[in-house]
């Protein structure tokens, strides 16, 4: 029971991380294309300036909670995905530096350099995150003690000797990049003024068509690498509400973006992303990290779980902490509600 609860708590924290930091990644990836003048650039950056750091905290809080609730998974996955994880850390460092220090530098060339670093890191990070999720869904060559070590790539085939990057995980990375860019475009449509606003809406429209093709393709590819992913759904048909929500979110994005209702479009995108992640988590359950060698050696919830006392007490402080966190976030997003003010950037 504790295992089930903490599985969903960690999954939700990581999903909230994707929803929140996701839009500022998307903004970063689109930023070179949507902002042409220095004034527009400042407006675009100002739309995420007060919130990106808080958004990124969900990664730390989620990672910490994962460590707390499932130490074996944390130890195995983080050491097994050693190289890509280190690259992700370097990209996160570069991205934060590029974004924050730009405001402290006056030289135009230096500003452009930092902008470029920020945009490049914002583009690569969603690809890595998508590929990471792809690796988890595909499974890794776990040893009997629950550990593994993966090279960055082998022959790009989904086979018995995979790398971090193979054809499936690259597809997952591309889906993540497109989905988060769309998410970021919708955020910009919500927060900025013309001409950035209308450029963002047009970009969202174009990205939507790409995502419309990629979403079913990624679903089919996932069932191809992990056919047993359907079992949880067929065993409990009401779960098909999750893929239905994916579809509803996707069409909501199209409809509300066309209707120029940016908040509704952004929330639809949230629904889409959340349902995609929930669908993946539900397909995995009760495994956390499947083995491609022997399904009996999957890292499951029960195998990775912490002691019961800690988990019981954890529910108390976790709930309290989340109430506080949500109130801080509500305050900050409310304070900076509406379009970015002209005098603020």
């Amino acid at each position: 029971m504790m295992g089930l609860i903490w599985f969903w708590l960690v999954a939700i924290m990581l999903a909230v991380y994707v929803l929140l930091d996701g839009f500022d990644f998307g903004v970063g990836a689109l930023y070179p294309f949507l902002a042409k003048t220095e004034n527009e650039r400042r407006m675009v950056l100002r739309s995420i300036g007060p919130v990106w750091d808080g958004n990124e905290v969900w990664l730390l809080a989620g990672g910490g909670t994962l460590f707390f609730a499932f130490p074996l998974l944390y130890a195995s996955a983080f050491s097994g995905f050693y190289l890509p994880l280190m690259i992700v850390l370097w990209l996160l460092i570069l991205r934060g530096i590029g974004l924050e220090l730009r405001n402290h530098i006056e030289n135009v060339v230096c500003k452009q350099l930092l902008s470029g670093i920020f945009a490049l890191a914002s583009t690569l990070l969603p690809v890595f995150y998508g590929a990471a999720l792809g690796n988890v869904l595909r499974g890794v060559p776990l040893k009997a003690n629950g550990y593994f070590f993966l090279p960055l790539w082998t022959n790009f085939r989904v086979g018995p000797n995979p790398g971090i990057l193979d054809s499936y995980t690259i597809l997952a990375g591309v889906v993540a990049l497109v989905a988060l860019s769309l998410h970021g475009a919708l955020w910009l449509a919500l927060k900025t003024h013309d001409p950035v606003e209308s450029r963002a809406r047009a970009a969202a429209q174009n990205l939507w068509w790409v995502l419309l093709v990629l979403t079913p393709a990624s679903l089919a590819a996932t069932l191809w690498v992990r056919p047993q992913g359907m079992q949880n759904y067929t065993a409990f048909p009401p779960a098909f509400v999750i893929p239905a929500a994916v579809g509803a979110g996707l069409f909501g994005v199209y409809y509300f973006n066309r209707m120029a209702r940016p908040l509704a479009a952004f929330l639809s995108s949230c629904l889409y992303l959340f349902s995609m992640l929930a669908g993946a988590a539900y397909a995995l359950y009760p495994s956390l990290l499947p083995s491609i060698v022997n399904p009996a050696e999957d890292l499951t919830i029960s195998r990775s779980l912490s002691g019961t006392y800690a988990l019981h007490v954890g529910l108390v402080w976790w709930t309290l902490g989340m109430v506080l966190a949500i109130s801080y976030f509500s305050l900050v997003y409310w304070m900076f509600r509406g379009k970015v003010r002209a005098d603020m950037y």
């Binding site: 300036g49 007060p50 750091d53 808080g54 990124e56 905290v57 990664l59 730390l60 809080a61 989620g62 990672g63 910490g64 909670t65 460590f67 707390f68 609730a69 130490p71 074996l72 944390y74 130890a75 195995s76 983080f78 050491s79 097994g80 050693y82 190289l83 994880l85 280190m86 850390l89 370097w90 460092i93 570069l94 934060g96 530096i97 924050e100 220090l101 405001n103 402290h104 530098i105 006056e106 550990y147 070590f149 912490s306 002691g307 006392y309 800690a310 007490v313 954890g314 402080w317 902490g321 989340m322 506080l324 966190a325 801080y328 976030f329 305050l331 900050v332 304070m335 900076f336 005098d343």
Partner: protein, 449 residues
């Protein structure tokens, strides 16, 4: 190549570099709250400007702390997987709580503090500064709780699969080691910020530029500095030292370079530990003082390293000895400098006393050295244990991450952090030479660009 060594260096390098920034963040947050409090109560607009100036430096420092801190949360898993697997049921708790109770608070209010002065009332903006300060201090506490459990494991039990589970929430959070170490560590953080603020003030006064602000900075820096430097030595350093002597006697013996047990042990002020002959080369010793410092009487017996099996001696013993002596020596020097400056401040002569302004200016790097040496003392003193008495360091690293991979990413971090250091120094120098007077707008970020 030795994988254990690579993983140790990896963690040591990244955490040492990281802590250079939070060390200033926590102390400076407190000093900014003090500046803003004075600004609220008085009619003097210059304290508001002073706070805005330091907020700009704080912002640069904070972002460095954030980006170098993210890797720390993950390095337990990447480089110390075996340790993480067995200890996650205990130290996972403070690490998760740090994210949930501190980082959310800090990051949310940092946005309001840096971007919101125009939108908030004066009191609300003070509240945002206070929340950032509280968040950073809470964060420090959870990290100390994590380290304290490794130094002095309490309230745990061993599960059937060999993992540790916490048995008391409050027992872990209120680990006596953590309380002492936190008090001592936070004094170190305030000392750092005090020296930095006083140094910038001294710089302006010596330069005869922005003198109004120079006077404010040396005043606040010296007042906070004299309190925190004394508190760092006594009571917090004293309490921490006695607790180490009681609970990690081998570490204490190695720190002091005491190879043989002695009644009425003397304290070695300077010397070089010689592991072969097991004595201190060319020592300067003050008789009986060590016994007095630890036990309060001149003739108490202090355990030497000869009381412990060789495989339980801290490894890299000379490094431990030097780190400890540098920390203690600098701590004494800080009291002296801040004490003299405080006397001149009290006599209202500080801003013209060049003989003390110069030491204030050039001493600001030394608290960084002292804090780093203090942490090295704590962590090298814990060796050869990863969790004191429970798990040796050579049992904890990631077995499937080879030494070459670890060295590769270590070099990557070194390169990246060199770049960050240069950027940091350039930007902070830029803010200091820009000065507090031009920061007229409510927004702490330069409004012109």
């Amino acid at each position: 190549m030795d994988a254990l060594l690579m993983h140790r260096l990896h963690f040591a390098f990244t955490v040492t570099f990281h802590y250079l920034f939070p060390m200033l963040t926590m102390g400076l947050a407190l000093l900014i709250v003090i500046l803003k409090t004075v600004a609220l109560t008085g009619k003097d607009e210059s304290y508001d400007r002073a706070a805005r100036f330091w907020a700009r430096i704080f912002a640069v420092n904070f972002v460095m702390g954030v980006v170098t801190g993210i890797p720390m949360e993950f390095q337990f898993g990447t480089n110390w997987a075996q340790f993480s697997e067995v200890s996650g049921g205990v130290i996972g708790q403070p690490l998760a709580m740090e994210g949930i109770f501190s980082f959310f608070l800090e990051s949310a209010f940092l946005g309001l503090f840096l971007f919101g002065e125009k939108r908030l009332s004066r009191w609300a903006h003070w509240g945002a500064a206070f929340a950032v300060c509280a968040g950073s201090w809470i964060s420090g506490y959870f990290i100390i709780v994590t380290d304290a459990w490794m130094q002095h494991p309490v309230t745990y039990r061993v599960l059937a699969n060999g993992r540790y589970e916490v048995t008391s929430f409050w027992g872990l959070c209120l680990n006596p080691w953590a309380l002492r170490q936190y008090a001592h560590n936070m004094c170190g953080s305030v000392v750092t910020a005090s020296f930095v603020m006083a140094a910038v003030g001294a710089f302006y006064l010596l330069e005869k530029r922005h003198e109004e602000f120079g006077r404010i900075f040396v005043k606040v820096g010296v007042v906070a500095g004299v309190i925190s430097t004394i508190a760092m030595v006594y009571p917090t350093g004293d309490l921490q030292g006695k607790y180490v002597a009681a609970n990690q006697p081998a570490a204490m013996a190695a720190m002091e370079g005491l190879f043989k047990s002695e009644n009425g042990a003397g304290i070695v002020l300077v010397g070089q530990p010689n592991e072969e002959t097991q004595q201190i080369d060319n020592p300067i010793v003050v008789n009986n003082v060590l016994s007095f410092l630890i036990y309060g009487t001149m003739h108490a017996q202090v355990k030497g390293l000869d009381q412990f099996p060789r495989d339980q001696w801290p490894t890299t013993l000379p490094l431990l000895f030097y780190a400890y002596h540098i920390m203690a020596g600098l701590g004494t020097y800080f009291v002296l400098v801040m004490g003299l400056a405080a006397v001149q401040l009290w006599r209202r002569k500080l801003d013209v006393s060049r003989w003390i302004l110069w030491p204030l200016l050039i001493s600001f790097p030394l608290p960084y050295v002292a804090n780093t040496a203090g942490w090295m003392t704590a962590e090298i003193g814990r060796q050869p244990w990863l969790i004191y008495g429970l798990m040796r360091t050579d049992q904890g690293y990631s077995k499937y991450v080879s030494s070459g991979n670890s060295l590769f990413t270590l070099l990557g971090f070194m390169g990246l952090y060199t770049l960050l250091s240069i950027l940091f120094i350039v930007l902070v120098y830029h803010e200091i030479s820009h000065g507090p007077e031009n920061g007229n707008g409510a927004d702490p970020r330069p409004a012109a660009h």
